[in-house]
């Protein structure tokens, strides 16, 4: 083990919900925690020992998880009021003192499936809406792609690290839960998709679809719905320059609108 393994008990307060239509309830667990432990390992411990502080038998907590190294985005939840991945959340950082409580809640901008698991389908649907892909001619061998400068690669790589976790949406005051799928295209799309549009518009093949992406982000639910709270960039676990992306796409839309005005389309 990297650190010493002195064990202490930490209380977890977890918001639970058996089904999408509720009702929510709270359950408390006392979990033995070793130095350096993360929140996921505590949820795993509860799964093997599903008993609340009152000694009541309960069910293991339902939560999404994948890589456990903060690269897949699955285990995102709200911990002590802050949205983040639970795998990279070290208990010592969030509950450093005896008596501290760790509160786990599902994200609020997506429908709850059960307990801490939410349905983030809308997030992926936004990527379709902005045509988040390079329109290649097929998978046969047609030689290399376009060259890029080291600086260009660094910018695109940073944007491309977005793991569709939804932190930027949870923190955004303009992004709201929407159960009705038919309204997804006109509700605010959020920072992640705007930033992805920038990623693909920056690519010399990807920019072929640039106008389509800008059109998708011009109307209701697009860039102009951003209230500039800048919460997105604060909570992004990958430090993606989301506000820069919003500004860049905003400028591109202005240019695009002027061109469109003069070409009369």
């Amino acid at each position: 083990m990297v650190a010493d393994t002195s064990i202490r008990t930490v209380r977890f307060r977890i918001r639970r919900q058996d089904a999408p239509d509720g009702p929510p309830r709270w359950e408390l667990f006392d979990v033995p925690v070793a130095t350096g432990a993360n929140v996921i390992s505590c949820l795993q411990w509860i799964a093997a020992n599903p008993t609340t502080v009152d000694g009541k038998k309960t069910t293991p907590i339902i939560f999404d998880a994948g890589c456990l190294e903060e690269v897949c985005g699955a285990c995102t939840m709200v911990i002590n009021g802050k949205v983040r991945q639970s795998c990279s959340c070290l208990v010592d950082a969030y509950a450093p003192h005896d008596g501290n409580i760790l509160t786990l809640e599902p994200m609020t901008k997506f429908p709850v499936v059960r307990d801490l698991m939410v349905d983030r389908a809308r997030l992926f649907s936004s990527l379709t809406q902005i045509k988040a892909w390079i329109p290649i001619d097929g998978t046969y061998d047609l030689g290399p792609g376009p060259q890029d400068t080291p600086m260009g690669q660094q910018v695109r790589y940073k944007l491309s690290e977005c793991m569709s976790c939804g932190c930027c949406l949870e923190a955004c005051p303009q992004y709201n839960i929407e159960h009705d799928e038919s309204k997804w295209e006109t509700a605010f799309i959020g920072a992640h998709a705007i930033s992805q549009a920038r990623l693909f518009n920056d690519h010399s093949t990807g920019k072929v679809l640039s106008d389509d992406r800008l059109e998708a982000l011009m109307g209701k639910g697009g860039v102009s719905d951003c209230g500039n709270a800048q919460n997105c960039v604060e909570v992004c676990p990958k430090d993606i320059p989301l506000t820069e992306s919003i500004a860049a796409i905003g400028r591109a839309i202005t240019v695009h609108s002027i061109k469109r005005f003069f070409s009369g389309t």
């Binding site: 993360n38 897949c72 047609l142 080291p150 793991m163």
Partner: protein, 633 residues
Amino acid sequence: MPQNRRVIVVGGGLAGLAASLRVAEAGFVVDLFSLVPVKRSHSVCAQGGINACNEVARQQGYSEYEHFDETIYGGDFLAHQPPVYEMAHWAPRIIDLLDRMGVPFNRTAEGQRDLRLFGGSLYKRTHFAGATTGQQLLYALDEQVRRWETEDKVNKYEYWEFLAPVIDNNGSCKGIVAQDVRTMQIRAFRADAVVMCTGGCGMIFGKSTNSVMCTGAAASRCYQAGAWYANGEFIQVHPTAIPGADKLRLMSESARGEGGRLWVPRTKADKRKPGDIPEAERLYFLEEKYPKYGNIVPRDIATREIFDICVNQGLGVGGGNMVYLDLTHMGREYLEMKLGGILEIYRKFAGEDPIEVPMKIFPGVHYTMGGLWTQYTPKDDLHGIESGAPNSMMTNINGLFAFGEVNYQYHGANRLGANALLSCIFDGLFCGAGVNSYVSSHLYESATDLDQRIFDEPVAIEQAKIDRLVSASGDENPYQIGIELGVVMTKGNTVVKSAVPLEEALNNVQSLQERYTNLGLADTAMWTNQNLAYARALGDMLKLAEVLVQGSINRKESRGAHYRTDYPKRNDDDYLKTTVASFDIDSQRPQMRFEAVEIGLVPPRERTYGMVQQENKGEDQKASNPNAATATS
């Protein structure tokens, strides 16, 4: 072309997405099943890069043939050679394709794709996107599949779990039974071919570098349905992982490829801080023993040396099971640009900055070389395999294919770093063409015309299975059994094996199987019940664990990742063979046999990697270009 033919792909990692693209592009409809949204598949965890011959290396004497030879040598000659030959020759085209898809590969000052050094090679032939290459490749394929989705050529079934293949009266696979893990609905899906792309089985070992869904349950379900499982005893233990309470986090081989050095203090349990220990008092154990390859010997060798230093010699840092992986002699800016992603992981989970302080690492279970047994059609001269052959990576069950990590091909007894991403995408693209041939040409009736009863029966079996689990009133907790299985397997069947501990492990697995029959579930709800899904997977993991251990017992030699102290030498006369396990329904146990390996291109030679005093004269000459490692940026 019969346009009403459908293909099911199970698993949405690199292999599954690449296969989906190839099949959709040919005009067939793909139903793509995944336990998780495909963008969250385990391929995201791959860090270091993807290997391919490139122009710089070529001008230094490297070639596709060398890449092929390295892979065979790295795998200790256990891999069938024709598919590896084909893969190595396809690799440069795959890099070009990914480049066209917009993967942000690192660039040189001139704008060319940058290259890095990786284990098992003296040439820079690894292409990379920071230290999250797998993530970047997966995203590129995910984006292309999303595009096909808008054209209704791919239907995604995310949060669906594969439960069983559906096999018709002629013994051909005609679909699958799957369950929506949220609504818990179980139903059958028809298809003319099914491609398993379900990855490895690291979770059988409890803690590993794998994602939580890498249980091996899907492979086990195919095995229990009659598919053969090959080379189960070959599990790669990665030399450098960060120990953690919930998992072992990979510290990429690229850290060593970029110049990272492994060392321990020469004095046992030295109390000094690493920075206070002078050069002369540090033991750079790989560099001393393997001067030619140094820190970039293949993984199985590095793992055993770390194990030896810590467990046998007691020289681990602070007397514990860890060694230093040191990057502190290198520049901050260089490291951030080349390795930023993995440095961040270490900072987040270990709480120290690896640019300032050496990392503390220990080996962890990482990759499943074995997997479902598959076929191929070799070219007449064995130099490659036939493109579009309908049996390309098809299991022994007609119409059931296995691509990517769940396929046992390519890596033999030990996988070389940065060859996994390659083999996954190669399977999807190259062997995907074989799937297209199979569904265009196969002789039996189309899945759409089959009698509904063929599909209803396996659904009823799966329904009965979960009814049994939910109503069981035993007192065993599945998570507890899972933890114990991990301990048993890690202890007896990983880095160092021998007869007695292996027999013990087999007995322990069997007694866990016994206890499994006495499960009681804390959660019996019929809505998003992960407790139930885990319990069901655990039963399949226990069946597969037995295959892994039995394979280790039967193979009385040491080869690649399989190292036995009681048989420390490779024995080509008796064991240059593939282990093949088939499930015996009556005994519920594996039946094992050996099968010949196709070694027609490169004759087996001793595998020393230029170890001091064991260097075999005349060997390795062609790989000893002293300039190659430093010639590119």
